[in-house]
């Protein structure tokens, strides 16, 4: 049986709507941490929002939520992965839209804002999964600049920002900037012994 990390829900009760939360996870507990963050936001706080999929395609994530019987039909998924796969955009879920590539950072921001504008929810979050996936395609300076703009754009609009990252796979300068920009930290990163 799938077990949620209840401590994350407890920590979420302490953050305000215009917060930016850095959620650190390990590569093996990423979905558990994501679900433990998303489920309280959707069910306890009745929030809508945008899920930015840069690590895996949106269909895979929706199916993972369906497997644990969690309805995510009111969440908009912005898929940055599947356009790079032949036939990847041929999906039946109406709540998925696509951006051509993770390098089109401004398009990701504008598409997210568009989805929030048409969202029926009064309270919204935007979840970026993940910073390390964006770091594969974008140089450090551009990514640091982007995260700065991204966080401030949503904070200004009272949209809760959640940035998922696997710390040992994020460039140190980007990680340092995340520490600086984010208001809260949920740390479920795993210790890696080399």
């Amino acid at each position: 049986m799938f077990e949620l990390d209840q401590r994350i829900a407890e920590q979420l009760t302490l953050v305000s709507l215009n917060s930016a939360i850095q959620v650190r996870c390990g590569s093996s507990n990423a979905f558990m941490v994501t679900a433990s963050t998303m489920i309280p936001l959707m069910q306890m706080f009745e929030m809508g929002g945008v899920y930015i999929c840069a690590t895996r395609g949106a269909v895979e994530i929706i199916e993972a939520f369906e497997a644990i019987e969690v309805d995510v039909s009111h969440i908009h998924f912005l898929d940055l992965v599947s356009s790079g796969i032949l036939g990847g955009t041929n999906v039946t879920y109406p709540n998925i839209s696509f951006v051509d590539s993770p390098i089109m950072l401004e398009s990701v921001l504008l598409r997210s804002l568009y989805m929030l504008r048409i969202s029926g929810s009064e309270k919204n979050f935007v979840l970026l999964d993940s910073v390390n996936a964006l770091a594969i395609y974008n140089n450090e300076k551009m990514l640091a600049e982007y995260l700065h703009a991204f966080i401030n754009t949503f904070r200004q609009r009272d949209v809760l920002t959640v940035l998922l990252n696997v710390p040992d796979q994020v460039p140190p300068s980007v990680l340092a900037n995340l520490d600086l920009y984010c208001t809260d930290l949920i740390d479920r990163g795993q210790v890696v012994i080399h």
């Binding site: 590539s101 089109m104 950072l105 401004e106 398009s107 504008l110 804002l113 568009y114 703009a149 754009t153």
Partner: protein, 242 residues
């Protein structure tokens, strides 16, 4: 756009919207008209690049568009070919008299309907018929002046092949000198992908932003955000962007 212009396009201005193909010029212009119609203004669109029927199909993409805007005469679309034919200007090149006849026809339409927002798409196609640079200058200057006197804010769409820093912002090099404002639209190439951008180069009477903005065309209109400083240059000099 209003935020970038610190309040919007000044009333009665003639603005050149220059851009490469697919950069969103027509969409931006159509939104300018639909937003005007929404606030009860009479608007006109002179199309020389695509048939009016096709243009109306594209306008339906806007979530805030209502067919009543057409039915109630708030948005009026004119085919330039029909106008030429009506004026007896079915010829390859225009002389001074033809140019004056064309200006008079456009001004008469604006005056009769009470148009306060006008789009000519594209002024490049129209000016191809005017052979002399001096005549093009006279045409645009006289048209702009007369429309401004009537309180009509005009967007002149101009097609350019490059939106780079060294490029001209108009096809004939004279339009940019006459316009009150210049908005440049193009693409930045980033790792093989084209990102649309918009930059206000000039807008008389405003303290506008001159930053490069990334744009996204959505059903709720053109959305803009400042382009990332580390990504505002194309990967390499290309015909698409700067």
């Amino acid at each position: 756009m209003d935020e970038i212009l610190r309040g919007g396009v000044p009333y009665g201005s003639t603005v050149l919207v220059s851009g490469t193909c697919g950069s969103g010029k027509t969409t931006l212009a159509m939104e300018f008209l639909v937003r005007g119609a929404l606030s009860g203004e009479a608007c006109a669109h002179f199309t020389a690049t695509e048939p009016s029927v096709k243009l109306l199909e594209n306008i339906r993409q806007f979530a805030f568009f209502d067919m009543g805007m057409i039915d109630n005469g708030l948005i009026n679309v004119f085919d330039m070919d029909v106008l030429y034919s009506w004026l007896g200007l079915d010829k390859a090149t225009f002389d001074l008299d033809d140019v004056h006849a064309l200006i008079k026809a456009i001004v008469d339409i604006v005056n009769t309907i009470g148009v306060t927002r006008l789009v000519i798409d594209s002024v490049t196609t129209l000016c191809y018929k005017i052979k002399s640079e001096q005549l093009i200058r006279d045409f645009l200057f006289t048209l702009g002046k007369k429309l401004s006197t009537l309180g009509c804010t005009t967007l002149l769409i101009s097609e350019i092949t490059s939106a780079s820093a060294n490029a001209h912002w108009s096809s004939f090099g004279v339009e940019e000198a006459i316009a009150d404002g210049i908005i440049v639209m193009g693409d930045v190439e980033r790792m093989g992908h084209l990102l649309r951008f918009l930059q206000v180069v000039k807008m008389r009477g405003t303290s506008h932003s001159r930053a490069k903005h990334s744009i996204e065309l959505t059903p709720i209109g053109v959305m803009l955000t400042p382009m990332l400083k580390w990504g505002a240059q194309s990967d390499k000099q290309s015909k698409w962007g700067s």
